[in-house]
Symmetry: D2
Subunit: 351 residues, 4 copies
């Protein structure tokens, strides 16, 4: 059994992590910390966990955490980096669901997250936890930077095209839509039901923190160096629903024979043939976000409308599962040499 | 392994049954029939089942069904009764999720369901599948009438009060609210998103088929005979959400010492102490329907506002699980001598 | 033209008041105050008002307010009472949309609102602004206590029965359901979309501030004195939608001939025949809350299921209109001797 | 007063037309036809219209329609064209809210709508009713083809860029999102609440009927002839909400000085300065669809993320108002020489 601790379990990624880990056959849930809720039984805050999670929130305690095999951070950005070095030293494996270790470039991180980084020396060591790209490195890692939700959907959707060099990397568009749970569980007017229901809007068009993360991932594939790299326009939108991300991706096929003649459906099917959590849908499909509600799956469809040179990729995930807690558990499984699908075999809840 | 067949799997109870049975450790899903969709892979209609259910809808075939240990009917009212006698004769156990065998009185059934009953001789034998009341009989049954969704929430909420004779049985009120999935998956204007979202209404106030079913169940507890019985006012409402039933139940305490001094919280806790799927919440609680989303649980809270003689019971279930498919699986477990919780240990999906 | 000021216009009742007053043919919107947002153009906070409201939020200024004919308070409870005496002295008419002047009994007010009342001497003078009951007094008033949302729906639903003495006043039940906008526009976890969407729950069953308000109104009708009065069980619930209240009301007909033979449909139709904003629906109707979305109407249907002695009244309003801002404008119209329907002739937005 | 008839008033555009016309100061609503609902009072089907619309649905009667000044068709595609020639001959002005007269090319129309056109000779005469482009022609027209919802949002969003020749017309992308009311009010599984709520998906990626309509409009601006024309990728998506369209438009600035130095904000503000129903938001805005809920307004924001050469335009409308019924009334106003804003001055309902 893997002994697991969770730091910061009162948000939506935290409670989702609890849901998955409580049902995981190889996990012993040892402790869950919350400075503000210390002393409160977890199931009192989340009655849906009654009978499944008997833990009580505890104040963060380095000793108790150091006794875990794996510690998940489901904390706001900037929290994990304060304690990670100490935990690593104690031999604990760390998976950070926030953004503290996602960017490799310290300066870029500090610019986007508006604060100095507490342990820039770890940025290089941290492994970006997208198993479909970095499985081998993950299995050897001490510190995993669990990818953002948008970056997961976008990278899985674009990777096969970029790996084969079929599209113009200077003109990529990711028009993304997310359910409201992506904004977290904090008191705020902007995510009240009365502010978000029955409406739809874009946000952060001028710049969103997931943009450099996606670019970094795509640049790695196309072997760019420096700040140049791929040209990506990223526009996130807020959908009046709880869970789900839908990425609609646009890329222009190069005018080479390789590109215009490519069998994209086969390309995607082969690329993901052995991936347990990426599902390439049949030709002509339109994946619904509900088809991945509550499960660690990315479903992808490939279109080329009117046979023109614009490829349209549709990629859906549950932002709290493959986009957060589920991918974190997948990373833990790889890290701990468990079957990669352990605890992740649930079926989407439809309707 | 229990070999299972499903008749009529294209509705919401059908697909929910598939979700639960596909993950059930002791079940072999042998066939699923649909006259209209014969030949279509199930996962094509419900992409959320991709990778979990490989079956294709088949036309109903008595021979194939007769080879099953258990057959579930997830069909419209009036369908199961056409084939059940034949299946019972073949030694198959049958669980009907529709209403064909819920009422004991043939005349009453025919009046409420507007058609002659095809096998009234089975009404008496059929066991009403509310395990919290009829567990022993269920374990011996050949034919289970799986309870309606409202009747499950209402009966579990009122039983302890009625069993102890604490309230005026002539003046019970069940103000019930249901998500839209209770209306089924059929083309209809009345359940379009644009007709049901952002609105709330009562319906069927003059008379609803679940009223005689609830009355029959409550009458059995208070040992009424004849048409008199309990006096129940039942008002169902439609809530703009997918899943969930909330029953708000009102009863008047009798003015005897026993009743006015009763410790209702303890009464409920003791009544349901050994029930795996009934959860009595702490004093002062307000159960949310989402706390049972996707799971086979009924959560109950007991209130007595201002210490007056009106008791208010709040009872929530997921109409598709404890109110339909989950309870059906629970009945199958009892029937087949499996652990009662087998395949039913999931955790509510929140948010 | 009536010169109007609004104190506290950043909540949902405030912006609804702006929507109605901006389109009111006899109103000049003079100023709107908000301590926290002073200096911000109103249309910047609420872009839907662009082109209709040119005002900028200003800090509360007694002189500017005193220059108005009518001042509306759309503030949290306990704010209006701090400034009302001064405004009345300046000859301004005041309509308070909060609860500061709704209860007549100072002690009761202080108990339910948890603070001392700043001007108890005004409680008696304040007129409870339910025009269907107090029209004459409203037209003469200086200070209007605009009713709560639940109290409006419940009182309009029960009045005809109580006025005629047809039902047992000791056993009234009001099972009420409200959209989330009733909880206001303040940063809070409990009303996030992710906490309220796709779920349904009761709240405040032990005691809600609208309970004494409703009791006071009903007691006035049945001429009770003292704390005894009607026996009302009031259970509010939260519906996953923006707007709307649905009150399901239960009363027991007395066993007198008058009561059991009463033609309730005709009674209601006659009672409200000349009321511009109460619409009694045909026999057998089930009013939907969306049928009053955005409009100052209460729609009512009367049922007597199975001809038994329990009467079921269904009463719907838009909590922000007839339950708040619309009723306030109606009160202003009466107060200022304008046509009662001025500015209130909009049609419900469906779907 | 303009005497108005409506053919086919039982859908969502029909009832929205009723809502707007019933409150229009210069309109006499003479008749509304529905073959299937003849004899039913309109307010019985739509209780929100009680007290505002006294009409009863009547069977279509050419004589009665011929007595109108203006007839609106709110019918399925292919219906209007059967009766329009006759009505025009009778001197009636016709506004078709369906697609029968939107495309100029008969062959193209027949291909996309899958049927022969009943009066191709009128395609040329029909005026495409986008007032911001065709105001003069509309004022002289006998027959107006009211634009589709997506085409309205997309064209208003792209026009200023195309008129000035600033962007690459061969690589335009319109990523559009619509509320469910766009799918109409017909019994169908695909638009049930339980199929569309809590989910998001693209549809019609391979080809949607609004694609040729948009292309035709854009081609007219850039003066293309023949089938070549602009290169547009159009991907519509379904949003779990009632009303609203959000178009996210991507265009590549040409590398000319004119283009890269253009002040796009000023360009848009000047283009729409005198348009009563197009609202260009301040720099940095993200329009919400709810800001136009129920009103005849298109709100637009212009972005150029990271100063790169990809322009992102955000354009929102209410699909039932500026995208259908409201624009039809606007066209009627122009046609009948009424103030263009008559009956269209309502304020968005928020929340």
């Amino acid at each position: 059994m893997v002994k697991v601790g969770i730091v910061g379990g009162t948000g939506y990624t935290g409670v989702e992590l609890l849901r998955l880990l409580a049902a995981h056959p190889e996990v012993e849930l040892a402790l869950i910390t919350s400075r503000s809720e210390a002393g409160l039984p977890v199931a009192e805050m989340f009655p849906g966990l009654r009978g499944h999670v008997d833990l009580t929130f505890s104040a963060p305690d380095p000793v108790a955490l150091a006794a875990c095999d794996v510690v998940f951070f489901a904390t706001p950005n900037g929290v994990a980096m304060q304690s990670v070095p100490e935990l690593l030293e104690a031999g604990v494996k760390v998976i950070d669901l926030a953004a503290d270790f996602r960017l490799k470039d310290t300066e870029e991180w500090e610019q986007w997250y508006g604060q100095p980084h507490a342990c820039p020396q770890l940025l290089d060591e941290a492994v970006y936890g997208l198993p479909e790209v970095n499985r081998a490195a993950i299995s050897e890692a001490r510190l995993i930077a669990n990818p953002g939700c948008y970056p997961t959907a976008v990278q899985l959707g674009l990777l096969p095209l970029l790996e084969k060099g079929l599209v113009d990397t200077g003109r990529l568009i990711a028009d993304c839509k997310s359910g409201v749970s992506g904004a977290g569980r904090k008191a705020a007017v902007s995510t009240l039901l009365c502010e978000t229901s029955e409406s739809f809007k874009a946000y952060g068009v001028a710049g969103h923190r997931h943009w450099p993360e996606i670019c970094q991932g795509l640049n790695a594939v196309v072997a760019f160096e420096g700040k140049g790299g791929v040209g990506l326009t990223f526009v996130p939108h807020l959908v009046p629903m709880l869970r789900g991300i839908h990425a609609t991706l646009y890329a222009t096929l190069l005018s080479t024979n390789d590109a215009t003649d490519a069998d994209l459906q086969t390309l995607y099917e082969q690329r993901y043939a052995s991936e347990p959590f990426v599902d390439v849908l049949p030709v002509g499909s339109h994946p619904e976000t509900r088809s991945v509600k509550g499960v660690n799956v990315c479903r992808i469809a490939i279109h080329r409308p009117q046979g023109a040179d614009t490829v349209v990729i549709l990629s859906v995930i549950d932002n709290l599962v493959k986009g957060a807690a589920g991918q974190a558990v997948q990373n833990m499984n790889i890290l701990c040499d468990l079957p990669e699908t352990a605890g992740l075999t649930g079926i989407a809840l439809v309707p």
